[in-house]
Structure formats: C-alpha cells, structure tokens
Symmetry: C2
Subunit: 457 residues, 2 copies
C-alpha cells in the first residue's frame, strides 16, 4: 500500500475559508431554481507537522456557505492531531468516524451541511495523499491495488448491490490493459460537453454567439437550462438545435423545477427537438418519481440524468436500482469525498449505468476529471456514452486548472487533486473580508453581510 511514512505527518492545522465569487452579476449559472447564484466554496487547507499541505473544497451558491464553514470548524475535532498516514492506512474507518460520530450523525446523517463539510475535508486529505505520492490524484487511484482502493470505501448499506469482495474482483478483472488506457488518457484526454450555451439568464444573442463559439471549439454535446416557461424553452431549444444541427447532441436541464407529471408533459412537448437527456426533472430525493419519468420518456428516446444534489451513496444506489437514471451524474463535492464517489462508480458499473459527472461551479471540473479518468483506466474501461460536463468559469483561480482542448479534458499532470487556489484568490474573494468584497460593499453592488457571516474567521 502506498501509504507514506508517518514521520512529520501529524495534522497540526485545518484552516477553512468562506470564498465567494460575484457570478450573479452576469447571470452565469442561473437556472430554474437558482436564479442568482454567487458561485462559492468552503475552502479547506490541511497542514502537517512537516509543512506538507492538502487543499479541498465543497461548492456552494453564496448564502449558506458560512454554515458549511462553521460545520467544518466543528469537525476539526475529528482531524487535528491525527496522523495522515494512519488515516490513509484505514481510510474507510476514518470515513466512518467523520460521517457517523455517535452524537453528531443526528444532524445528517450523511446529507446536507454535514456531508458537504465532510466532502471538503476529505477532498483536502486526498489532495494531500496524492501530493505525498507525487502523483495527480487519478494516477494515485489507478496505481492503488484493488484491495487498497476498496479499503477506502465504507460499504455499509450498499452490500445488496456490491460487496467489498465483488468490488475487488471487478477491479482485478480490469487490471489487464490499464497501462494502455492510461496512455490513451495522457495522449487524447476525455470527452467533455458544454453547459455554457444555455443558462436561463442569457439573452438569445448571447446564446447564438456561444453556440458558434463552442461549435468552433469542436464540442458535439450542448446543454440548455429549461423549466420556467415552456414557450421560452421551445424557442431557446429550437434555436440551439438549429445552430448545432441534427448530428450534434442536445441535453436539457430543469434543475428540479417540476412535479413528476409536469416533467413528463413538458418533456413530451420538447421531444421533437430530440434531447438526449432531461437532467433533474424533479426533486433530487424522488427516486420513484425519476423511475416513473424514465419509463414515460423511454419511448421518446430521452434518458433521465441526475446526481449533483443526490445526498449520498444510498440515494445513488436506489436511483441506479430503480431504473430512475440512465446517466449518473456524480458530483465531486457533495457526497462524502472520493471514498464515497468510488462506491457510486462501482454500483453504476455493476448495474450498467453510464457515469457522466456533474461539473462547473468552483473547482468541480478540476476535481471530477480525475475520477472519470480513473473510471476509464481501472473500472469501466470505456468512454462509450460517457462525457464530463464542462463550464468555463472560475478556472483562473486554480494553480492547476483543468485544460479542455478539442472538447476533451486533458489528463492532469501536477501532483494532487487540482484543488489549490492561486495566491491572491483568498485575499480578494474571501467573504466578507476579501478586498474585492470590501470594494463591492463600498460601491453598493452587494448588501453588507449578516452578523452570522462575520463569525467565521
């Protein structure tokens, strides 16, 4: 097991910052339910005795980030003074400590604020591990022996779909050819699709120019936000279909706007435009609702996609079991870190559902590319019917930003999980004390922060 020597790896600090970008000013990221997001994150820095660091984050939409930050501060009790090498040697056990403290689990369990906080901490730990191994995270994952990789996962509540032993066998059966697939990734990268063309807040002119731009960049799959007004959706989707032509792919995303019946009715109306999938048609908690919608839309060739707000592996398990999703959209920062996401990949592969990760926001593209590349090299062995979402926002804040060329994510090369901010980002965008926020408060662009938002350092 490539677990580093314990020496110097006692964790001596866990720092967390509320970081927000004023994306609502441009209508970027606007959808049916999130009309004015300020793309944000809770940003964790873990430091060991020897000065080694890991960086991790969970994505948020502005208000409420302060609650995640506060929750992470309360979770320091589970991390400080632990040795990072001990954590990696029994990562599954540590995962359960963090997610199932006998008192604290009541405020989850494994969902909402507490689980978003856990995700940021775990992402920082995985970043640290990959840095200690001097590898990009996807290579660390690929290089772990099946038994080692599986030891990081808590299989509680998912053994009816996949057991630890089965997972090891599945991974072992794919060891042949791993190095060839690694070479393919290093040479050609992994397919991406764009969500840039159709945010609800964009005008028709912006939409047209973005279609032209992303076609020129070789994209073949285009996602459009829908769900507020059917006539408007028909007009915008027709326009996109006309711009991209019949040989390209259109996906639509309702961001939870509909009831089950509305979703079916609305999508039947959009069916002539041949969308490949409808994403988040209804409540992210409604497994049976998604199954009903999937069944109703199957004759129209429309699949159902969801996952960015799926609370944990138990919910993913049911979406996969029930036929409720045809495209499983894991998110790198909502469920409990790489550990739990690996469990979802294993279940999706077992149940024959394609994983097409959610990305965008802050750092989600940077992280999720690592996971999908591991899947190609070590588990599914295929890119067939699989793409990673790409949104061209907030990458400039990262030391190792994702690189998308010819509509493909290029394999990361730097050690770590691509989660470190460049110098200056915290100074400018830490909320509410960063210099950019102070300027915007002074100029009246945003209202002053609430009392509670001032509590976190």
């Amino acid at each position: 097991m490539p677990v580093p020597d314990r020496k110097g790896l006692n964790i001596v600090s866990l720092d967390v910052k509320d970081v927000r970008f004023p994306t609502s000013l441009g209508g970027h990221g606007s959808d049916a339910l999130h009309t004015d997001p300020n793309y944000s994150c809770a940003y964790v820095t873990i430091t060991t005795e020897s000065g080694r660091q890991g960086f991790g984050l969970t994505f948020t939409c502005g208000r409420g980030t302060e609650v995640i930050v506060f929750c992470i501060r309360t979770m320091k009790r589970f991390v400080l003074n632990k040795n990072a090498a001990d954590i990696f040697a029994d990562f599954g056990g540590f995962w359960r400590t963090l997610t199932n403290d006998s008192q604290m689990r009541w405020i989850g369990p494994e969902k909402g604020v507490a689980h978003l906080a856990v995700a940021a901490i775990l992402n920082a730990l995985w970043d640290l591990w990959a840095r200690l191994e001097n590898k990009p995270l996807w290579r660390l994952l690929v290089d772990l022996e099946p038994e080692e990789l599986v030891s990081t996962i808590d299989f509680r509540y998912i053994t009816d779909v996949v057991t630890k032993e089965e997972a090891i066998q599945m991974l072992k059966s794919k060891r042949a050819g791993v190095q060839e697939r690694v070479k393919i990734l290093e040479q050609k990268g992994y397919p991406a699709y764009t969500t840039q063309v159709g945010w609800l807040g964009y005008s028709d002119e912006v939409l047209a120019s973005l279609c032209a731009k992303y076609l020129a960049l070789s994209f073949t799959h285009f996602k459009v936000k829908v769900g507020l007004n059917l006539q408007d959706d028909l007009r915008r989707c027709s326009a996109v279909r006309k711009y991209i032509g019949d040989d390209k792919f259109l996906m639509v995303d309702a961001n939870q706007a509909w009831s089950v019946d509305e979703a079916i009715k609305w999508m039947k109306a959009l069916a002539p435009l041949k969308p490949m999938w409808i994403e988040e048609p209804t409540s992210p908690d409604d497994v049976l609702g998604h199954a009903t919608i999937s069944k109703a839309l199957k004759p129209y060739g429309i699949g159902v996609a969801t996952g960015e707000m799926c609370a944990n592996r138990v919910m993913f398990k049911q979406f996969l079991q029930s036929g409720g999703v045809q495209y499983c959209q894991i998110d790198s920062a909502r469920i409990g870190g790489v550990n739990e996401i690996l469990a979802v990949y294993l279940m999706a592969w077992k149940l024959n559902v394609s994983v097409c990760p959610h990305a965008g926001g802050v750092g989600l593209c940077e992280m999720v590319q690592h996971l999908q590349m591991w899947d190609f090299a070590s588990l599914s062995g295929t890119m067939e019917g699989r793409l990673v979402e790409y949104v061209d926002q907030q990458h400039e804040h990262f030391v190792d930003p994702c690189v998308v060329e010819n509509a493909r994510y290029m394999a990361p090369k730097m050690p770590g999980y691509s989660t470190e901010f460049i110098p200056g980002t915290l100074e400018k965008f830490a909320y509410p004390r960063g210099s950019e926020w102070q300027r915007m408060f002074n100029e009246g662009i945003f209202p002053l922060p609430d009392e509670a938002e001032l509590v976190n350092p």
Copy 2:
C-alpha cells in the same frame, strides 16, 4: 381565517440557544448507533413588537447542536422584521421562502442541518400562532377550515400522491363528527406506547423492573432496542416477552444498524417472539431497501416502521408509495415544521398507512401529541392501529409537559405548542455556559467544549 391582527406583530427578535442535558451519564437513549447521546436541542424564542412570544425547538444528540444553532442564526434574515400575521396568512409561501432561498437551498435542499434549523423556527411560529389564538395547537389545527389548513402546506413534489384540492376534499369529508372526536380526546386522551424498558445501555435488572413498572401503568405496547448482538437481543426480547405476556405487544428498534439482507435474517431469528414491528432496520434513506424488508417480513406478521430520520415529505412520499413502511413515524422536529408534517399525514391517509409518531428526546412528546390529536379529530377519525411513542425523560423542563395517564396522552389545554422551557432550564443547561455544564466541566465529568462550540452566544 383566524389570522390575528397585524398590529404589534412585527417580529423584532429571534433568539436561539444550544441546550444540552447530560443523558449519556445514565445510558438513557442509547441504541445501536447512538451509544452516548446527550439529549439536546436548538431552542428558538421569537418575540414580536408587542412582546408576544413563540417558542420552538429541534431535537439533537449533543455534538453538532452548535451547527444547528449557527444555521438558525443565519436564517434570521428570513424572519426578522416580517409581520407574524402576514406569515400566517400565507404560511405555505413563507415556508418556501425559508426552505428554498435561491442560494441557500444548495446546502440542503430540505434536509440535514438546514431543515432541522427550519423546523425549530417553524415550531416557534406555530407556537406563537396558537398562543395568539389562545388555544393549544391541536385545537387551532382542528378549528382551521380545510382551505385554511391546506394553505400552510407546500405541495411541490407531492402532487402525484395528493393535490391541494384533494386534500381539501379529504378534510371536508371529515368535518362531520369533529366535535364528538374533540370530546373523546378531551375525556380519554390518545394511546401511548413505552420505549422506556429496553435501551441498549440498560442492565437486565433495570429492564425487569421497568417492565413491571410500565405494566402497572397500564401500558400494552413495549419497545426494545436491538441490533448490536443477536444473542443479546434474543435474550433481552425473550425476557420482555415473558414479563409482558402474549397478550401485550412487543416492538423492536434497530436504529439503522443493518444492511438489507442482515435485517431480514436478524428479524427472522427474532420472529418467534412475535414483534409487531421492526423500526429503522437499515439506512433511513433506503426506500427500496425498506420495501424489500417489508415484503420479506410480511409472512411473519412483522411490519416495518421508520420516519424519525426521514429527511422530508418527498422521502416520506416514497416510503408510503413503495410499501416500505406499515407504520409511518413522523417526527415533530426533523422535517419542516407542522406545515410539512401535515402533508405527510395527508399522504399517509390517502395511501392507507397508519401514523405512529416518533417521540422522546427533548420536547418531541410535548409537540407530537398535538399533531396526532389533530389527525384523529380532523383527518383519519380513528385511533385504530395508531399509538404515540412515550419516553419519560426531560418533561420536567417544560411549562406544559405532556401528561400520560393509564398509558394515554391527555389532551393539552394550555395555549401554544407545549414548547416553552421553565425558568431556570436555560440558566442551567445552556451549553457550554450554563451553570450545570460549568459545574460538570469543573468536576471533570465532561471535557471542555471545542472552540466552535463557544462561538454561539
């Protein structure tokens, strides 16, 4: 609509306290996953311009309460300077404002910390409304016209089971006989069962003496915690069955200890002791798992019960739709207040599942009795197959504690939702600054609080 005059009802303050009781010292409340709970709550006091007050809480288990308290502080922005009469006049609309802020919903939505915070705030508002009407909450609910009651509910995502119009019709069809049923409640109360006999932390001697005590108190239904060790469970359940006899009812509660397959196997082993239900056999998120367990245990006459950790009405909807629960255990402080719980009652009635509320903890008995009494008077019209959990703990802290006589909850008479603490409780048990906590820290009974626990006032 009995909405009070707006005069003086501007909300001028929302105070919230972290309140903890050292119940772990006695093993009270211990179960398979919660081995050392300190029964706690986030306690909200809302005050209007005219000095009228409402009190509300959400139950917690100790560590983590500080996160709920902090989240409630951030939610002041949605409550302060609103007029309470306006809130009650469009309570469904206000509910959506509180639960679905366009930025903040990302950290839920409608689950975990954020939803527990919402529950405490809404419980305080309902308490205020009932006090303004000078009625116990259950009478306020009974006296609302069907249209008025239903206007407090957000039907988003549940219209595939019950629509607003259907709900109004269901309630209207039960208006005849309401006053007779109110009289029955006032004279005879509502049946309770006891969980006092079988906490995992109790010795066999304590168990025996508690069985004798609760038999003498006329209880007919006894619940025992199981799930850590099958041999131990067989011994303890056999003992309880022997003490209570074959004419009484035994329920068992695994508090999420098992996988789906384990649950079935374990319960088949306990089946000869004729348990009426198995509560929380597996993950509280696993609808399909519960449905599988229900189906497997049906031939043994064992029903499945769950709900105390069910995240919201959408999850309840699926448990009810799937046949995953035969006993629907609403909790008065986890999902979004009375508003959302009413929606669950409506769905349960429509789908013919009995509601047997979860209670215990801090204030849960006090609150949930009101809801179940409303159900009897206004919706189901029956007590058949229905009981409210009763745990004899922490009632002494309430101004209007629940009263259980002859194993029946007596109908509350005081105005409000029975949620107000007596003077002194906050002074003693506010965490970490209350006098009892200071004493216990000084005596080394509990470790000193963490930095984050000191942040909240």
